[in-house]
């Protein structure tokens, strides 16, 4: 019986959430396609992880090798393609993460299998794999079909599927590493941790997040004043950090911080999923954006379709009045 493969992603001593999310989706896929769910785990001294994964999958294939201690796409590609050629899984799921985007495309080329990236849904029916992915920063969804093949590689967007624990009590199969030599052309050296200190936006009760709607650095102080009036701090989406207007300790989202304040006001933030991932669990979300179709309005409790600069001055005034 053929399989659905899920590649385990772990970093600095932890299995990353995306793995369990993919296993949950993979289980549903396996049931529908009458296949078996297999978690694939590479690393060094990671038997503990294999136990955790066995609760989610029918089988865990474990490959331990000191050359697999830290993620190296080249090493992973060699081991994973070896397993795929042997097991011929119908679909191999990999996270659409920094880890997955460094591996899946070249893996697909080397195996001659079609690849669909950053998928938010997938279905295999009548011998055809159909995926749903987002385009244009999340403003459009596209349903796409993959060329028919023996097997498929799919990368899955983070936090798209819930992770549900089951007690599958799967078997753990240890396989010897097929790697012989060190990978010379690409080497992991070390992690660089975020600089300590700075502002801790995760501790703030009130956050005002700014994004692409801010056109010039000189526009930021008036927003900061509003934040102060509300007893809160300034946060932002990626473009503001890319421009160097705020430091990255203020960035909310998948490449920044996850926050859960009592109030999050999004000013000129369109709501790309990378940002939404970091703030969607805030208690109250108010979004102000000129574009009535901005995805942020699908996350916010209250929305205002307006030029943020027309709203910020009266808002500061009214808040001050009510503070009394």
């Amino acid at each position: 019986m053929t399989e659905i493969f899920v590649l385990t992603e772990h970093r600095r001593g932890q299995i990353r959430d995306i793995t369990l999310e993919m296993l949950t989706k993979g289980r549903a896929l396996a049931e529908k396609t009458n296949t078996e769910l297999t978690a694939v785990l590479f690393g060094k001294d990671v038997k503990e992880y294999a136990k955790t994964l066995s609760e989610y999958a029918k089988r865990v294939i474990l490959v331990e090798d000191s050359k697999l201690e830290n993620f190296n796409s080249k090493a992973y590609q060699k081991v994973l393609s070896h397993l795929i050629k042997e097991h011929k899984p119908l679909i191999t799921l990999i996270g659409h993460t920094s880890f997955g985007v460094d591996l899946a495309p070249s893996l697909a080329v080397s195996l001659g299998m079609p690849l669909a990236t950053d998928c938010i849904e997938l279905a295999f029916e009548n011998g055809t794999l159909t995926v749903t992915r987002q385009m244009y920063g999340g403003k459009v969804n596209a349903n796409a079909v993959l060329n028919k093949a023996e097997g498929y590689i799919v990368t899955i967007r983070q936090a798209t599927f819930p992770a549900e624990n089951t007690s599958m009590n799967g078997e753990i199969v240890e396989v010897p590493s097929p790697l012989s030599d060190e990978i010379a052309e690409k080497r992991f050296i070390e992690y660089v941790l975020p600089a300590p200190g700075g502002v801790d936006i995760t501790a703030a009760d009130v956050l005002i997040g700014i994004g692409r709607g801010i056109k010039d650095e000189s526009e930021i102080p008036q927003i900061e004043e509003l934040a102060k009036t509300l007893g809160g701090a300034l946060a932002c989406s990626r473009p503001i950090v890319d421009k160097g207007w705020l430091s990255n300790d203020r960035q909310v989202g998948s490449s920044g911080k996850t926050v859960k304040p009592k109030l999050y006001i999004a000013l000129g933030i369109s709501g790309a999923f990378q940002h939404v991932l970091g703030m969607k669990n805030s208690d109250l979300i108010i979004a102000i954006n000129k574009d009535k179709n901005a995805p942020i309005f699908g996350v916010a409790d209250y929305g205002v379709v307006e030029d943020l600069f027309k709203l910020v001055p009266p808002l500061k005034e009214k808040v001050n009045e009510l503070k009394g």
Binding site: R11, F71, S73, V101, D102, P105, S106, A108, S110, P114, L115, T117, T130, Q134, Y136, G137, K139, V140, N141, A142, N143, A144, V145, N147, A184, K186, R187, I189, E190, V192, P194, R212, L230, P239, V241, G244, D249, Q251, S254, S255, G256, K257, L263, S270, K290, N293, P295, F297, G298, D301, Y302, G303, V304, V305, K310, L311, P314, K318, V319, E321
Partner: protein, 259 residues
């Protein structure tokens, strides 16, 4: 250091109103402003900075119709030495794989030390062209790059991971690096600079010129249907002039004990 930078001409949609075209397989392009893909803009700047520091040349390559010339002119004005446009009606609707195959054929005979491109494109977001191109060329690659240092034929790069974390990776040249936004500050070009670039040559190559046959450029995936994402939850919209809306928000915050 000879650098090739692969760029894409894309519609700016972050703040635009997007409509699906009647056939339901693409968006309505009329009225949208096109420019260099944001990630490629950083890749271009990085390419020019490498040339300024280490000497060599920068060659910008794109795939598309004559409309994409404005993006190539921008590359020339910003410091690229050569510009190549790969144009053929058969290139329409290409996914990352098809695009990488076309680039591969155009690049394999060029001399280069490093290829830079954006980590992803803001339109389709595949995040795959760079590593596919590298695999086809048989050279190593690193994706999501935030910093590059050279040491002989080794590039020491920082890759962006999640949650503010980065990793340092060493890669042997020649290699493909895909660039993440924020790695540098893309320079502005004056109108004069763009005007001067108008006189420069853009080399145009078609399917046969790069040695490809029509059946060799197939995509992995095909879009069947595009639609506006269904709304699971919709914000309650506060209506009125700015003063009225401000008052509503302030009262709402007061009622919840937030002020």
């Amino acid at each position: 250091m000879d650098v090739i930078v692969c760029v894409k001409h894309v519609p700016e949609t972050a703040e635009a109103d997007i409509k699906i075209d009647p056939a339901g397989k693409s968006i309505e392009k009329t009225g949208l402003v096109f420019d260099i893909n944001e990630w490629d803009d950083y890749a271009l700047e990085e390419a020019v900075q490498i040339k300024e520091k280490l000497g060599g040349t920068v060659t910008a390559i794109t795939i598309g119709s004559e409309d994409t010339d404005s993006t190539l002119r921008k590359c020339l004005a910003r410091g690229a030495d050569n510009a190549i446009r790969l144009t053929d009606p058969k290139f329409e609707g290409a996914d990352s794989y098809a695009i990488a195959k076309i680039l591969h054929k155009a690049i394999e005979d060029l001399s280069f030390n490093i290829i830079l491109t954006g980590a992803l494109a803001g339109d389709d977001g595949y995040t795959a062209t760079g590593p596919i191109l590298a695999e086809l060329l048989g050279i190593p690659y690193v994706t999501m790059v935030k910093k590059i240092e050279f040491n002989g034929d080794i590039a020491k790069v920082n890759r962006e991971l999640e949650g503010g974390l980065e990793e340092i990776v060493e890669v042997r040249l020649p290699a493909v690096l895909t660039i993440q936004t924020g790695i540098n500050e893309p320079r502005y070009v004056s109108i004069m600079g763009i005007r001067k670039a108008m006189q420069r040559e853009i080399k145009v190559l078609g399917l046969a010129d790069v040695g490809l046959k029509e059946d060799e450029i197939g995509s992995w995936i095909k879009i069947e249907k595009m639609y506006v994402p269904p709304v699971e939850k919709q914000a309650e919209f506060l209506e009125g002039n700015p003063d009225e809306v401000a008052k509503k928000i302030a009262e709402l915050l007061k009622a919840r004990g937030l002020i």
